[in-house]
């Protein structure tokens, strides 16, 4: 280890620099390439309207991916976000349908803001269970969140008996209208879901770059032992990232069920994998400590714009799966190129 200097090649020459720029901005260039290719292939692809529709699809994955980014920066993984998304939607739907209290003989119809708040608390609670299991009981993150993947999905199925809550529009007489606002309304032409994503991304970006918590997160993901000896509360950081990931999943669940005005117990199945893919395409290292919100957002847009583009030009859904898989592997391949042997 004496000569770490020498094991890291520094680039020299202008041709190398172009390669380096391409490598470091790969997610951005990939997105540009996707937009150009599909714009040539389809006349309807390149329009503001289409971009906004695609962006509102991206919002769901993007929100999950931001939570996932925090967990991956910490060196962990959260497989439960897809299920948490589904459970959150179902709980929101359940609350919108009215909560019957038999003892008092009344049915409570909580206002939409209360539904949103309670659902977010649920996401935080699910994340907290993950975090405590991982940080205090040393359960591997993969296993703890895999368990939660099943449990949360199971609870969602139990609550609905496998059925879907429809008509989440509320009733003006009951004072709980407005749930569809999140999914359908637009501010200045931009879907609310996209605005929510932008707000969450900006907040998390700021937290990562400019707060003590952000620094703690990068440090404990890069070297937990060193961080601990430097006085970083590594366990609190670890619990926090899973809580935040749960909250992001709950927000994504709200946006999705609002977009659909229905909440099904199977919503969000395998979305955790898409979220991981977005984070990885965005250049984050699964070993922790490397990555940022900008990259993850680009990753989410690459996946979203690619799959929607394939739909628009009429490629079969099976081929979409193949393309998505290839893009993920390519991204990881480039990650290992960038970080070299030190990235392990």
């Amino acid at each position: 280890m004496a000569d770490i200097t020498t094991s890291k090649p520094t680039t020299g020459g202008s041709s190398m620099n172009i390669g380096k720029i391409l490598l470091e901005g790969r997610a951005f260039f990939a997105l540009v390439a996707i937009i150009i290719v599909f714009s040539i292939l389809s006349p309807v692809y390149f329009s503001v309207g289409n971009f906004l529709i695609m962006s509102s699809h991206v919002a769901i994955f993007g929100l999950l991916a931001i939570g996932m980014l925090l967990v991956i920066l910490n060196g962990g993984i959260d497989l439960s976000v897809g299920s948490t998304l589904g459970l959150s939607g179902v709980v929101a739907g359940y609350l919108m349908q009215g909560v019957e209290i038999p003892a008092a003989g009344v049915i409570l119809y909580p206002p939409v803001w209360a539904v949103v708040l309670l659902t977010i608390c649920l996401g935080a609670f699910v994340g907290a269970i993950n975090g405590v299991l991982i940080a205090f009981f040393n359960v591997p993150a993969f296993v703890a969140t895999l368990g939660m993947l099943y449990v949360a999905r199971g609870v969602a199925l139990l609550m609905t008996n496998g059925l879907t809550y429809n008509n989440l529009g509320g009733d003006a007489a009951l004072g709980n209208t407005g749930f569809d606002w999140l999914g359908f309304n637009r501010i200045g032409g931009v879907p609310i879901g996209v605005i929510v994503l932008a707000l969450v991304a900006l907040t998390v970006g700021l937290v990562l770059a400019r707060t003590a918590f952000g620094r703690w997160l990068y440090a404990s993901g890069g070297n937990e032992r060193a961080a601990e000896l430097s006085g970083v509360p590594t366990r609190k950081v670890k619990v926090s990232v899973y809580v935040l990931s749960g909250i992001c999943a709950a927000i994504a669940g709200l946006v999705l069920s609002s977009q659909l005005t229905s909440a099904g117990p199977t919503a969000g199945t395998t979305y955790e994998l898409t979220a991981i893919a977005a984070v990885v395409i965005g250049g984050a290292a699964l070993t922790g400590g490397r990555g940022n919100v900008r990259g993850t957002m680009l990753g989410a847009f690459v996946i979203g714009f690619l799959s929607d583009g394939l739909v628009i030009i009429g490629v079969s859904a099976y081929w979409q799966t193949v393309f998505t898989g290839a893009v993920i592997v390519l991204a990881v391949l480039l990650n290992s190129l960038q970080y070299g042997r030190t990235g392990r």
């Binding site: 200097t5 020498t6 707060t211 993901g221 290292a285």
Partner: protein, 513 residues
């Protein structure tokens, strides 16, 4: 040369391998700038040099891991290019790395034969492998069962396994990169005996060590590197320690003397501290008491396993004590967390800077400011300006040679990395600093700078400094007081006028000469 031949009858002096104008550039960084030297059959050639002088790069070139940018490697007079480490191994060159390259979950036998199992038609011949392993362990005078998993061995024994692995390959050129760093004095003696046996059989050894005196004991030729260039080259008979140091550093220097600081009230008091052995029986730190005054520098000397690291980690809050108290200015801090102890002014610079000291994914500046984030947080957000001030002050105070706070930590040499770890803890403005082997794996120039920094800080800030070392020479430098630990207890205490022999005798180490 006649003297050499008298000592080693097997030595012929014939050159088996040589480097001619070997250079290696990594982009703009010139790790090696044209080095020439020879390896003689049946003799030991030692490479001396500070960290970053190019020793490891040269080793990697000789063992085929790295290809040189220019220059030639001659093997038996013929130019060779290795396609990789395996190619070099096939030609009889093996390397023992500074960092152990063993699979901890496999047993000793499987580690020794990893990648070159004795294969028969019916699979691997485990019985034969076991027999060979047993013979190797006998040769190395180490009582290790071939079927013991490597993770159950002490670090020193793991090093022995690594050496055995190279011996098994029957190499004619054996490169040893810091082979003794984890060995006890008696294990080092066995290693030297093995080296003598090997050279008698005609094996050539290339040796690297930061223990200069130790290396002088075993070497036949000395090659000194400085900044990627070879500055000197001479047979053993013509040189001494001073010659090496002079050529390594380019000037005379010493590790300093105790500063004349004003000693205040006891800053750190450790009382009857006990730390249980991780295996469950016995104590690694056994009712140990130590008091250090403000402005005082105390050196703790001891062999590996004497309990130095455990004592420090316990005082810093990393390990739990099973008894006793740690007081800071009379206040019991035993129940506080690591973060709270840092806040209170008690910090630890850990022994293994790669594993416990640095965050490799972060920059020099982020590493330096990691322990004092609170100092540049304004309300909710960190202040970039205040952080830059903290970083710049630290870089200046601990004299880190870097392109600035934005450079990646991995781009620094070992000595500068160590200064970053120390600077990170000093930036918290501590009152007591514990340093576990602060000179481990750094070159002599950086060592002197680290000791100077500690002496100055102790004097100016009234900082209480406690450092451990396994090199006696380093006890007799800046320390006002030398405490010798043996089996978790304090075996003896000396002031700075003590002799090396006294200290070594008290540690339970055999004084050999």
């Amino acid at each position: 040369m006649t003297v050499q031949q008298a000592i080693r009858p097997g030595a012929t002096g014939e050159v088996v391998m040589s480097a001619r104008h070997v250079a290696k550039h990594y982009g703009a960084v010139k790790a090696l700038k044209g080095v020439n030297f020879d390896i003689h059959r049946g003799q030991v050639t030692t490479l001396f040099g500070e960290n970053g002088a190019g020793k490891s790069t040269l080793m990697k070139i000789l063992s085929g891991i790295v290809t040189p940018t220019s220059g030639q490697i001659l093997l038996d007079g013929q130019p060779v290019t290795f396609s990789g480490a395996n190619d070099a191994l096939a030609q009889g060159i093996s390397i023992i790395h500074q960092e152990l390259a063993l699979a901890p979950n496999l047993n000793v036998r499987d580690n020794i034969f990893m990648g070159r199992e004795i294969r028969t038609a019916r699979g691997v011949d485990f019985a034969e492998e076991e027999r060979v392993t047993r013979a190797l362990m006998e040769e190395l005078e180490e009582d290790i069962d071939p079927l013991t998993p490597v993770e159950e061995l002490r670090l020193g024994q793991q090093q022995i396994v690594e050496i055995a692995r190279a011996l098994q390959a029957r190499s004619r050129i054996l490169i040893m990169d810091e082979p003794t760093s984890a060995l006890s004095a008696s294990e080092v003696e066995v290693l030297f005996k093995v080296i003598n046996d090997l050279t008698a059989k005609g094996v050539s050894i290339v040796y690297i060590s930061h223990h200069l005196e130790e290396a002088l004991e075993v070497t036949d030729h000395a090659v000194v590197l400085r900044d990627g260039e070879m500055t000197a080259w001479a047979p053993r008979a013509e040189i001494d320690l001073e010659w090496i140091v002079r050529n390594m550093v380019g000037e005379n220097f010493d590790l300093g003397s105790p500063p004349e600081s004003e000693m205040g009230a006891p800053a750190l008091s450790i009382e009857e501290l006990c730390v249980p052995d991780p295996s469950g029986h016995g104590l690694v730190v056994d009712h140990m008491s130590l008091s250090v005054k403000a402005g005082e520098i105390v050196c703790i000397y001891g062999l590996m396993g004497a309990g130095r690291t455990e004592m420090m980690e316990c005082a810093a809050g990393r390990l739990a004590a099973s008894g006793g108290a740690v007081r800071l200015h009379g206040q019991d801090v035993s129940r506080l967390s690591i973060a709270q102890r840092i806040e209170a002014g008690l910090v630890l610079v850990p022994e293994d800077r790669q594993r416990d000291g640095l965050v490799q994914t972060m920059t020099v500046g982020q590493n330096l400011s990691l322990a004092s984030i609170g100092a540049f947080t304004r309300g909710l957000f960190t202040s970039r300006k205040a952080e830059r001030a903290v970083i710049e002050t630290s870089i200046r105070e601990v004299t880190v040679k870097t392109d600035g706070g934005g450079a990646m930590i991995g781009s620094l040499s070992g000595g500068n990395q160590q200064k970053v770890v120390i600077g990170k803890m000093l930036a918290t403005r501590p009152e007591v600093i514990l340093l576990d082997e602060p000179s481990r794996g750094i070159d002599i120039g950086a060592k002197a700078e680290v000791f100077k920094l500690l002496a100055e800080t102790a004097k100016q800030r009234g900082l209480a400094v406690v450092y451990t070392t396994s090199e006696v020479g380093e006890c007799l430098s800046i320390a006002h007081r030398i405490v010798v630990m043996h089996r978790g207890r304090i075996a003896a205490e000396f002031d700075h006028t003590a002799t090396k022999e006294q200290i070594m005798a008290a540690s339970g180490e055999a004084v050999h000469h």
